[in-house]
Point group: none
Chain length 204, copies 4
Amino acid sequence: MQKRALETRGRILASAVKLFSKSGYHGTSVDLIAEKSACNKQRIYAYFGGKAALFEESLRHVFEEVNRSDEVLMNITKDSLPDMTGIILRHYFSVHKAHPDFWRLISWANLEDEPFHKCLKDIKEKSYSYLKKLYGEGQSAGIFERKVSFEVYIFTIMSISFIYYSNRRTLSHSLDEKLFTAKGAENLIVEAELLLGPCRQQMQ
Amino acid sequence: MQKRALETRGRILASAVKLFSKSGYHGTSVDLIAEKSACNKQRIYAYFGGKAALFEESLRHVFEEVNRSDEVLMNITKDSLPDMTGIILRHYFSVHKAHPDFWRLISWANLEDEPFHKCLKDIKEKSYSYLKKLYGEGQSAGIFERKVSFEVYIFTIMSISFIYYSNRRTLSHSLDEKLFTAKGAENLIVEAELLLGPCRQQMQ
Amino acid sequence: MQKRALETRGRILASAVKLFSKSGYHGTSVDLIAEKSACNKQRIYAYFGGKAALFEESLRHVFEEVNRSDEVLMNITKDSLPDMTGIILRHYFSVHKAHPDFWRLISWANLEDEPFHKCLKDIKEKSYSYLKKLYGEGQSAGIFERKVSFEVYIFTIMSISFIYYSNRRTLSHSLDEKLFTAKGAENLIVEAELLLGPCRQQMQ
Amino acid sequence: MQKRALETRGRILASAVKLFSKSGYHGTSVDLIAEKSACNKQRIYAYFGGKAALFEESLRHVFEEVNRSDEVLMNITKDSLPDMTGIILRHYFSVHKAHPDFWRLISWANLEDEPFHKCLKDIKEKSYSYLKKLYGEGQSAGIFERKVSFEVYIFTIMSISFIYYSNRRTLSHSLDEKLFTAKGAENLIVEAELLLGPCRQQMQ
DNA sequence: GATGAATGAGAGTTCATTCAT
DNA sequence: GATGAATGAACTCTCATTCAT
């Protein structure tokens, strides 16, 4: 692929991520993507095959980007086990805040009829296995509750941080709106830390 | 409104909920809604004003339906405070399982550009205030952690149950697939109960 | 169907016959058909289902039209058996001359990948059975060659008259161009009569 | 032209004949021709000038090929005059059967708006003049009907053999389908021989 | 000689919506 | 109350062709 083509392809992908993220698969038109990436519509078909394939490529793209940023979690050491929950929570919150493309594309992909999510099947999350090992050590050391598996632990953390951004609009009608201010987020993290460990009896 | 008209309106709303839930706002066509509700397309405009208004009405409809089913939570008494977390979790899980329309429409509404969610602003959730009062009593009794507010408590429960259904497709690529079996759900609930209280030191 | 709709449908079909006949299936655009029939493009899909279905309807339409005009052949009586070949030939020549839509659409349908011709499977040609009976009587009376079946007889007549119009352009490069003048046509008919019967020994 | 270029050109022409024959001018895309001939699209424009010119070249190509195979008809001698009709018929039938590209491209060219057929204007059919001379001798010898010109004679033979292949699809709806079996073809030839001479009184 | 990148026009089809009956 | 007819804009995707490397 020539340099010019790579640039064009890059512009298309960038626009696609932006627009698909904003308006979803059916809410975005190929014409608009072409316009925003200042290229001919045909290039999209030449480089990606079609609208659906472009959506999948967009999804993969942001996923990998976020995966890379998750690698900072691998800097957590045994010494900071008591703070692990807070570290992960803060990291996820900041990632979701910085990458709305990420949770938005994921949400669209989860909803759509088309099995867009299948394109993620070979994407592996390096940090998971690392965190899992650490969590196990934490359990042995009595820092984390033995009866709570890593899967449920991390699932809860992910749920909180994901929903906090993805369902903000509807939840702000049901819950106290203050929850969605900067202070509210900080408070949520602190209290969630209390829930998710380290074990409270340890802290006394 | 005549009886015949009410029936037609009802059929339209039922089809709309089904189709919008399945394919979202942009993925559903007015033609299809008319076809599935066996009525003339024009009736949709006569009864609801337009596609957008029909979407909002669909959203309100399922929301109220679920709200009504949430009223069973008001049967929880002071005596069962130690089991409250489990009761709520199980209820939410069963509601999300029985009403995919609910979490799907909410998800679409959260994502869409159009502020569909605004139609929910006057919908009040009776059970919240009731549960909040109970939770406070539980805190006083040392059953729930004093430092964790009701908002964070209920937010966490909602997040877990919502994400478990809404993000299943993508999460099953990252997390252990067993989490999404019937057994996995039960296990998740049990372990989440451990995290969310009652206070573990109490249990000893 | 309302009167206005019938008129619109009629205009579409008329334009379709004209344009498909002229430029074939792939050479004709739905836009052009809509324009020439002074209607909205969408009407074509509402009334005919799609471009392909409209092509088939056009084919059927001209086929039935020509079938009806073929019924004049059922006026041939036993008395005019010696002139039958000439009568049929002249009729077919005049039909093909008057209805280029007919042989053109048939030719396109024969060539196209899509099995457009299948729409003709239930169209019956009344005149055939009548002519076949007459031909049989002519054979018994020694007017037509006993060894030549009606199928071959009528096939030859049809071939001559069809090709004379359909392949004129290419054949005029190979054969004497005079064949394709009015005089040439008349001459062709007369000589073909000699070949196709009545039996020449009878004429002596 | 270099050897490599000649090969590329040859591949293009071969693919073009195949595809134009199958789907016609408007039904075939330049992209597809390039793909099937494993060359860059640009080569088509470099070697042939454009799609239309390539179509004409394809037409000329198969025409010349068939012309060459027609030269076997020049082996007919005076002695075999009584069998000439059968020989020609059988030859044409076998040619059309072996070269569907031939009658298909001719048919497309006859139908298309564009005057593709003009490219054939300088193509001469050597066998015609030879057969015409033979036919004249046959007429003098009383083998062929004096009143039937060679033009009509050969036109009829060509019509039968051409239509038998080109209009098979539609005709099989009107005529007896058996006509289009191997046996039906043989029978058609035999009976057509009876019609087209030699003069039947001669045969007695 | 050959390839890859790019283009603008136009293909068939469906959209949400309004008007007439 | 309900239906059928009609519209124009928008949709995804492909066309024949040219330019740059």
